[in-house]
Symmetry: C2
């Protein structure tokens, strides 16, 4: 795994960091994605995209919690039913709106994100609604505590 | 990185493997996600979820192609404007519909997926439309050749 960049966010401690993208959007605080110089050419063609999928590397999280009982959940759940950062491979998935883009400088301005300042990034993908948007997906109760 | 499972798919060579989830869904061939025994407890609570995000490890892909010119694209694009499997960290992102679920056996039946048979899996997350579905996202032209 290589880090292609990192996130500059308003969140410097876990207590105030939003625990999901809904909370992050509600907080109304922007963030920035900074791409390493050697990967900036990889941004070509992305300037027209309104939303990105960012895969982050949540390196502060424990990785051995296969079953978890979040404080706000009624019962314990498996890690794969949660969006918790504590997972076997600590990859975070964030669908974010782009508000500014400078490929040469390697800076992408974001509406909001739910990770700590300095979090490394391992991939960016264009969000493609034809394959990624399933508005009527049913979570049942899984993920409600994500 | 650890592999938490792998995918059993109908696609055994690159020439016939669908190049994106749209093509995979059109092909109408189901697939299976097999979870390693030591991670099966992590499925608890996921049985009510209609759709998953699967993160695969596309281990056959080159990792040094920062700018690419797909055959079906008009011009070269950066890797981060494409869903190509050739990327610095070869993580594939697939939003898939669940058609069957056996947590004890570690088997999840899937409507379709766009990867080769035997592809390792590094994470599963519940798909949560409130944070993951952006039906009106605008790709411009980025990702159109994904």
């Amino acid at each position: 795994m290589v880090f292609i960049g990192h996130l500059e966010t308003p969140w410097t401690d876990r207590d105030t960091c939003p625990r999901n993208m809904t909370r992050a959007r509600e907080a109304g605080k922007p963030a920035r994605l900074i791409i390493e110089p050697s990967y900036r050419d990889g941004l070509a063609g992305l300037e027209t995209t309104s939303h990105l999928v960012i895969l982050s590397w949540l390196n502060h999280s424990p990785r051995n919690l296969i079953v978890q009982h979040p404080r706000h959940a009624a019962s314990a759940k498996g890690v794969f039913a949660l969006r918790s950062p504590a997972r076997p491979n600590p990859i975070g998935l964030h669908v974010v709106r782009v508000t500014g883009f400078d490929a040469a400088m390697g800076v992408i301005d974001l509406e909001a994100i739910d990770v700590l300042d300095g979090t490394p990034v391992v991939d960016i993908k264009p969000y493609i609604p034809a394959i990624d948007a399933i508005p009527d997906a049913d979570t049942g109760r899984a993920g409600s505590s994500a």
